[in-house]
Symmetry: C2
Subunit: 371 residues, 2 copies
């Protein structure tokens, strides 16, 4: 990687007559057959591996220029996070601008393009927009942000208000997670263009009731403060702002809440305890489903079935949280709370959550979903 100093001096020869620079590394290079070559310059390193999402670390070989490289087998079209591990120390791929923002450590990402039918491939369809809003949170006592997707042709004067989905990221993501990594806006654009999903407004707030939880996740009191603060900020700060700014329905049957991992747990905690506000709930690979069901959902029983339009619980078979989610499925069944329990391939990764979203979003705000 060029250092900062180098990247600044790069500007100077920009339009002057400078001697040619050494050839720039290309990494990752996606080959026509979907094998991928990763490259990393580290002349003094002893061992370098590439660690890819949902794959074992792959050892790289050094050439005489000090460039380490390895070529994978052909990969399924998808977007894979990865890092290099250099003598035991992880790092991003310095020449690859495609990154996964993350509050506990960014990683690089390689996109292996596939057919236009893949929901997260950009197609020549009408495109929605993503709006970035900033506000002072009294609940969390900080300045924070949220993102709002509006579909193509969004009309603030349309006859009927838009349904609205509150879509929550996971632990260590920031509020941009669902768009920057999840490609949620691209998925929505495609599904709406195909007539598979109702045009809706999608709100992606910051999922922490307190930012302390990023440093003190193992502290139960901090976790509770974060869950409670998130709920209060959502209900008292985010939703009123959204309903003031956007032409969205305030009818509970036109409101959904869903999320991944920590955001899945938040969707359950808020959604199932506020059925007067939400009728559609999705939880993908939930992390933090409660150990004590009755304590978290004191009023939840079969009476909820009249209010719930959809309760959709998904988890990948290889996810470390699978058993906890399966237990939650059983507890819902024990209490005769109608729901869908979706078991998919995959682990605790965005490969699963992009697919979850593409499967879940079309179910929303349809009058007769299977529940």
């Amino acid at each position: 990687m060029r250092t900062l100093i180098c990247s600044l001096t790069l500007m100077l020869p920009l339009f002057a007559q400078a001697p040619p620079a050494p050839p720039r590394l290309v990494s990752p290079e996606v080959l026509p057959d979907n094998r991928v070559t990763f490259r990393f310059r580290a002349p003094n390193a002893q061992k370098v591996t590439v660690n890819r999402e949902s794959a074992k670390p792959l050892e790289m070989q050094k050439d005489e220029q000090g460039v380490w490289s390895v070529t994978t087998d052909a990969l399924e079209p998808d977007m894979y996070g990865y890092t290099f591990n250099v003598d035991g120390v992880g790092t991003i791929d310095p020449v690859n601008p495609l990154m996964k923002p993350n509050l506990l450590g960014a990683t690089s990402m390689v996109h292996i393009h596939g057919p236009a039918t893949i929901p997260w491939e950009v197609n020549d369809v009408p495109r929605g927009s993503v709006h970035h809003h900033f506000f002072k949170s009294t609940v969390a006592n900080d300045y924070r942000d949220m993102y709002v997707y509006t579909p193509a042709g969004y009309d603030p004067k349309s006859k009927s208000a838009y349904p609205v989905l509150y879509l929550l990221h996971g632990f260590s993501d920031d509020a941009s997670g669902w768009t920057a990594v999840g490609q949620a806006h691209v998925i929505f654009d495609n599904l709406i263009a195909q007539g598979k999903m109702k045009p809706m407004v999608v709100v992606m707030p910051l999922g922490y009731g307190t930012m302390e939880v990023l440093k003190s996740l193992r502290d139960a009191a901090v976790r509770t403060k974060s869950f409670d603060g998130f709920r209060d900020s959502l209900l008292q700060e985010v939703m009123p702002q959204v309903e003031k700014t956007y032409h969205v329905s305030k009818d509970r049957t036109q409101r959904a809440i869903a999320g991944l991992s920590m955001g899945g747990a938040e969707s359950l905690r808020v959604g199932l305890n506020y059925l007067d506000k939400f009728a559609w709930i999705g939880a993908f690979s939930s992390g933090g489903v409660p150990a004590n069901f009755t304590e978290t959902f004191p009023n939840l029983d079969s009476k909820a079935n009249d209010k719930l339009k959809l309760l959709w619980i998904a988890c990948g078979k290889d996810d470390g949280l699978f058993e906890a989610n399966k237990k939650f499925d059983a507890e819902l069944s024990d209490r005769n709370v109608k729901h869908q329990w979706i078991v998919t391939p995959g682990a605790h990764t965005w490969l699963v959550w992009r697919r979850n979203l593409a499967e879940f979003a079309p179910l929303l705000f349809n009058n007769s979903p299977k529940t």
Copy 2:
């Protein structure tokens, strides 16, 4: 840095009873006196330095845990880019989520907070929003994006349309540069709240007429193709979209164009050749000011003074592009084109451009600016 694998397994103990992890590194740590401690874990490295924007590389020392660290002198409040150099290889700070996105290599960033009067400090003032739009560019033959800032209280039905500034990033930035690194939206929020700047819409498009230029900057034909393509995309694609979507004036006296480095040159090339469309022009540390003035601006002479409300050319004294900008100032003077030539401290860095923006934006759309 935790590897990707680790960051995924991090999720698992999230809500389970896992053994405590080793203490997480804190880097950068801003001390109360504005000294900064940088830390980087690399047990096997021989030499590690921290390379900070506008500063000499600083050697770090390794402790018995393999953690390298160094503490700077007290620094002026600002936002500084930096990287680590590990045995000759640059890398970001893996535990710091604050980053400068860049198409040729992201870097880390440390924010040393200062008094509320610093224009890029977030204050408790009404906040504008940043809208992310996506479109297919026929000119560039790709899918691309742009960002649009709307001020707090933006009213699409207001009596008079908003003035509009087209604000252009530099070479290697992406369309998010002015917000993610330049904090332009924060600067505008503050200046508008203080009554120092007119509320306006600010459009931040992608500044490449062809993405090829990122790989082939030294190819004059590609550079020309990029400049021309940028101009065509701006005039034919970006401006019509903006004028359709936002309540902005189409009056040339209510339109400005400005940019940094490559974007400065673009502002001059488009602005000065299209005075029928723009009356306010700003160029910060321009990279690519033309070697041949007459060829680039065939019609530019003192007749332009009737149309130009402001031509504002700034450059830092320590910028490698200072002489080229100074020459351009002289050429404008030779042709009796009225302009302001602003010499500031500083080099080719965002430390200069944030200040440029805070100085330039208040001049816009005032009836009697000094020109």
